[in-house]
Amino acid sequence: MQVFNAFLKISKKTIPMALIYIGLFLVLLTFFVDSSAQNNTFEAERLSVSVIDMDNTEESKALINFISQRHDLVEIENDKDTILDALYYERTDYVLNIQEGYAEKLSNGKTNELFTNYKIPDSYTGVFVDNLVNQYVSTLSAYIAGGNNMSAAITKTETLLSEETAVTVQSFSDNKSGTEDYPIKTAYYFQFMAYIILSVLITILSSVILKINRKEIRSRTNCSCLTVTSQTAQIILGSTVVVAVIWVIFIAAALIMNGGAFTEKFLLALLNSLVFTIISAGIAILIAAVAPKSNVVNVISNIVALGMSFLCGVFVDQSLLGEGVLSASRFLPAYWYVRANNMLSGMSDEVFSINSFMSFVGIEAIFAAALFAIIILINKVKHNAQ
């Protein structure tokens, strides 16, 4: 078992590199789980608004009161330089100057030249307060025109504009909370596992196989009395052990994240991840068969793992990806892995059905079979060339 033992010893040397990927994985996971866990309620933003009341009437005070209920009032001196400084240093977002004669003009049904203002050009804060004031004035004018006296019109305007519309924040996917037996944390964990398992397996498996199969080493081994079958069997055994250990470690972590519960959906996620792990091992072995040297493996690992993850919806929801990208990513196994995982967690539009889920996993299995067929073919061609 010399080759097998050497395989494991060399694998151990790649652990530091694999840990870097795992660290990156944990950071990503924490970020995404935290962002999904944020409160999904809506609350209008309160700005800092300064009001200079030149009219100083009950009507102008009513307007100031109306604004103060929605924004924070900041006192400011009626001096142009002071106002511009305050806007520049963001001590206030908007300065509203209620012109003298505001109440009189309103009662006469005039709505122009009621105010002057200072605001940051092209800012959303300016538009936000402009809209609020315009809405107030137009509503108030409408009530006055409708025969209400000023006092009644102000009351009715405040009542009307106090009505709030319930806002529910929806993500691009319909559901970001997962299901009871497959919580969002676990769903995200399995989603990002596609990236990490691919990166770690390429980093470890590809580089170890390349080192074992280095031309000089291979020649020396081929000169020995160890049969080619035994060499190959020991490399396969070594690869299997490495893949199994890595998968078990990630699954143990997933189980802890899932609260130790082996729910039906969790078991299905295990199956999905197992098939994808086999695919990742196939990709890693394929890279080892075609990569020129072991020192380029890290570069290849980044290109393949990041590329596939971005294209197939590991980092970005599949619902956000363009139709063209999705059409292309259907030819990559990670697409079916993510789709199956989304279906389990309810993060996509697809309603969970065991048949659909198994068909996705089946497509992944076909990818795995195709990969291993290609590997056998390449090795045969290389063997014949030698």
Binding site: K9, I10, K13, I217, S219, R220, N222, S224
Partner: protein
Amino acid sequence: MADTIVKIENLVKRYKDLIALDHLNLEIKQGEVFGLLGPNGSGKSTTISCLLSLLAFDKGNIEVFGRKMTPDNYEAKRNIGIIMQNVAVFDELTVIENIDYFCGLYIKNREERKKCVQDAIAFTELQDFTRFYPKKLSGGLLRRLNIACGIAHKPKLIILDEPTVAVDPQSRNKILEGIQKLNAEGATIIYTSHYMEEVEQICTRIAIMDKGKKIAEGTKDELKKMIKNTETVSVETSAVPADVLEKINALPHVYSACCTDGRLEVKCSGGKHNLIRILNVLQESDLHFGRVFSELPTLNDVFLEITGKALRDSD
């Protein structure tokens, strides 16, 4: 008569239009240090690769230990040790782990293997470096590790393919001494090199190769006897007039005399006192001269006379 360890008959190896080995015949006896000498590209490494079944060949037959050599002749492989030109060790394993790995490809028994590994370490004097990783070793130590990995299982036939390339003179001497010691302990050695001095120093029999063909074979004395030249006299002097050169050329046993760059070179075939006669001519002609050398033919002279080119020139 000693047993034949390796027998190569009519070996032909082609790479498309290039004939790498052209009907090569070799017979290596037990206990020999057999040298394969030739310039780069002469077919030495190809011969070794065919011999080890690392390379398929187009025609011919190879027998090792009396049996046809095939990729699955594991009985023969068990008794062969190979030390390649390029160092073949794992950077991720220590010196002792590397030796144990390659020894373990031949010897399954752990206790027996442990002893073999220790013997190989002692033989290559790597005792102080057993826990070192190859990247921490100097070029010479790395070559010694490469040798230890190839001989740890105590093979009867050891093949060394240019083991001293890019090695400092001190390490080179150690390696050559080691090879002679292995031979003294009973191993048959096949040694390929394009360094004629090394081959002359350690090989008991030599085959000279060029363009995939064996152009000469024998002991170094036998090879030197194959050529006309028996002595080359070199004299540092000023320009030698044509009439003096004529006189030297007319001396008995001299078959070539020329003067280039202030050095008179006279080639002799047989005879005694050639040097005295040449110096007498120079003295009579009132020519001053500096250092004088009398050299016996080298393998390079053999190669030069047979192929018309020098070994080093053809690298």
